[in-house]
């Protein structure tokens, strides 16, 4: 049984301009100890999906339907229907979250130590000294230099990379089963990014925590994830293991994303390939397949009339495309595809 099973989640924003379905029927499953990467461009709904799991979606967003089942004591509990006090025990206790912006995710008027101690004491009845010891442990775990000094420092005294490590320490402080990392490295420079990713991978190995990694960076996914789900316009369009996805993409969007990466060594013949058009705003989703206006393989009028469902195209591999079976490695867009470096 998966650790977290999201079934047909629909999260919509009820704005004065109308109902905007940011997450429109998303299903995901995360197994214990595995890493699932959720990939997509900005605005596809991946962050909203993550926030929906812990019911942190800002109003006017509302989880309209679907289930989010967290494994518990042999059975499962639906997070969308859990009363708030019980949900608070899960937040930080069984599911931890790392946010995108380390610069603003920490309270400026408290020391680092205070904030980690708070995270610990919210879930475990320990004394301040014990919590402080645990905080020190966590800082050492995330490989923050001079943890004793850092404990009494304020967020503004730390760099972005260090703050992100502190966030990771806070999220892991109570040994959660699942960590949701919402674009944890987007706001950091590349060298720090590499360190943070390596840290996450190391922590996963050592602690056995499952990770839901949300990112728009395929390179990050390739390095760290066991499974991948690609999201577009509020829906999952392809789902497979990482190895399978990069080797045999079966959805035009995924193919386009992979083709749009610069090749190794940075040399190109001709301009970079892009996916024409833009991500459609939720108020104006195209009819039929939401990707069809930008799709190089679209076959009108079928693709414009009928929305494809997510179906199995190979073992453990699903794609939301009518013609997924016909897409193969010999396709034109595949010029620069291939397993990542």
């Amino acid at each position: 049984m998966p650790l977290l099973d999201i079934k047909n989640l629909v999260t919509a924003f009820h704005t004065p301009a109308g109902r905007v379905p940011a997450v429109d029927g998303v299903s995901l499953a995360i197994e214990r100890g595995k890493t699932l990467g959720l990939v997509g461009e900005s605005g596809c709904g991946k962050s909203v999906t993550a926030m929906s799991i812990l019911r942190l979606v800002a109003s006017p967003g509302v989880i309209e339907s679907g289930e989010i089942l967290l494994a518990k004591d042999g059975g499962s509990v639906d997070l969308t229907k859990l009363p708030e006090p019980d949900l608070r025990k899960i937040r930080g206790g069984r599911i931890g979250m790392i946010f995108q912006e380390p610069m603003t995710s920490l309270n400026p008027v408290f020391t680092i130590g205070d904030q980690i101690v708070e995270a610990v004491r919210l879930h475990k009845p320990v004394s301040r000294e014990q919590a402080r010891t645990k905080a020190l442990e966590m800082l050492a775990l995330v490989r923050l230099a001079d943890p004793e000094l850092r404990l009494d420092e304020y967020p503004h005294q730390l760099s972005g990379g260090m703050r992100q490590r502190v966030m990771i320490a806070m999220a892991l402080a109570c040994d959660p089963d699942l960590v949701i990392a919402d674009e944890p490295t987007t706001a950091l420079d590349v060298t720090i990014q590499a360190q943070i990713l390596e840290l996450l991978a190391d922590l996963r190995r050592r602690l056995g925590t499952a990770i839901l990694l949300i990112t728009h960076d395929l390179g990050v996914v390739a390095e760290t994830c066991d499974d991948v789900a690609v999201m577009y316009a509020g829906r999952i369009v392809e789902r497979a293991s990482a190895a399978e996805l990069f080797a045999h993409p079966r959805h035009p969007y995924t193919i386009g994303l992979l083709a749009a990466r610069p090749g190794p060594g940075g040399r190109h013949d001709g301009p970079l390939k892009t996916i024409p058009g833009m991500v459609p705003p939720p108020q104006h989703f195209p009819t039929g397949c939401r990707f069809h206006p930008r799709c190089a393989f679209a076959r009108l009028p079928h693709c414009a009339e009928e929305a494809p469902s997510l179906r199995t195209v190979a073992a453990g591999h699903e794609a939301r495309c009518h013609y997924a079976d016909e897409l193969s490695e010999s396709d034109d867009l595949g010029e620069q595809r291939g397993a990542p470096a």
Binding site: L54, K89, R91, G92, P108, V109, L122, D152, Y154, Q157
Partner: protein, 359 residues
């Protein structure tokens, strides 16, 4: 401490204090208020007719505390029929007694009688009561020393400021926080209540309550100033909470399992406090001014209780006695000015936009 200088962690308030200290005017104002606080606390030791400490019939007493609360006057002095005249009676009834006297032997509630202090005549009254060596600020119509009145009036002035703003601050922060954090119908309710209370005229309400009650005291005045003065604070608090509840660190706190009360008190309030303290400081000045105005008009605490405004009230019918105007007038002016300067200094010290580059 293991920290080296470069690692010296300075919290937000420590930083603000450093910035505040760089402004001499603000520091002077703070020193003045500190001085007032000392005067208010030690008023009976500065001016009074009761000994600060005395030894009588083998035991130690502190009769001066009676100025704070009549019930604190040691019973033995009533029993032995002292009737408030300590110097002579102490010496007569117990030759071995000794006493430590206040700095200025004058009473804020009554005139000093002939020979009460051995060798000194009674306080002059009326026009003869101009400032002299014995009566530093002169005496009023009835011969009561003005300096003593002002020293004891400091207690009232500061009390009015702190108590009424304490009440106003508490109500304002709670109402504003609830509205700003929860939004929705709670916000609508609190905003409407705030607007209704804003329309209530403070001064008129105090006068009305004074008229209705049999024994109005200064505590009633303070309560009403507090109960009507919280609206500006509430609006400011609401704005700050509205802004801060969308912060990333609030979401991060929720993701770690913090509940709404914890988030409001521990996470948002410390971040919101700086701008809220400013109108509270100005409110203290305003409360002092309101109380002085009421006393000046004759609606202050009834005699014998002395406040600066009531001295001014005396002055109304005795304009030739300039000392009744000048001294309390200057005191009120300086106090209100000091609080305003403190509020301004606080504002500049905590406003991130006005900060100079960090050194």
């Amino acid at each position: 401490m293991k920290h080296s200088d470069s690692h010296h962690s300075r919290g937000f308030w420590a930083e603000a204090w450093r910035r505040y200290c760089r402004k001499p005017l603000a520091l002077t104002a703070l020193a003045f208020v500190a001085l007032l606080l000392l005067v208010a606390m030690f008023a009976p030791a500065i001016a009074g007719t009761k000994p600060v400490l005395c030894r009588y019939k083998g035991r130690l007493y502190a009769p001066c505390l009676a100025y704070f609360d009549r019930r604190l006057e040691p019973a033995i002095f009533a029993k032995d029929k002292f009737r408030g005249t300590y110097p002579k009676n102490l010496a007569e009834k117990d030759p071995e007694s000794w006493a430590i006297w206040p700095l200025v032997f004058q009473d804020p509630y009554r005139s000093v009688r002939d020979d009460e202090w051995p060798g000194r005549p009674a306080n002059p009254a009326r026009d003869e009561g101009r400032p002299s060596r014995i009566n530093l600020f002169g005496t009023d119509q009835a011969g009561v020393d003005v300096f003593a009145k002002m020293v004891h009036g400091t207690t009232i002035a500061l009390l009015v400021g702190f108590v009424s703003m304490g009440i106003a601050g508490t109500i304002g922060i709670v109402v504003g926080a609830l509205g700003g954090y929860f939004g929705g119908w709670i916000d609508m309710l609190t905003s409407r209540v705030t607007e209704i209370v804003m329309c209530v005229p403070t001064l008129v309400l105090i006068l009305a309550i004074m008229a209705l009650l049999e024994k109005p005291t200064i505590w009633h005045t303070m309560a009403i100033i507090g109960a009507t003065g919280w609206t500006g604070i509430a609006r400011l608090t609401r704005g700050e909470f509205l802004r801060l509840r969308q912060s990333e660190f609030v979401t991060a706190a929720r993701s770690v399992g913090a509940g709404p009360v914890r988030i409001m008190l521990r996470h948002i309030l410390p971040n919101a406090l700086a701008p809220i303290l400013v109108p509270i400081t100005f409110g203290i000045a305003s409360a002092i001014l309101t109380e002085s105005s009421l006393s000046f008009l004759g609606f202050g605490p009834p005699p014998p209780s002395a406040s600066w405004g009531s001295i001014l009230n005396d002055a109304r019918s005795n304009l030739s006695m300039w000392w009744l105007v000048v001294f309390p007038g200057i005191a009120i002016f300086l106090t209100v000015l000091a609080y305003n300067l403190i509020g301004e200094g606080l504002q500049e010290a905590t406003d991130p936009r006005l900060r100079e580059a960090r050194k």
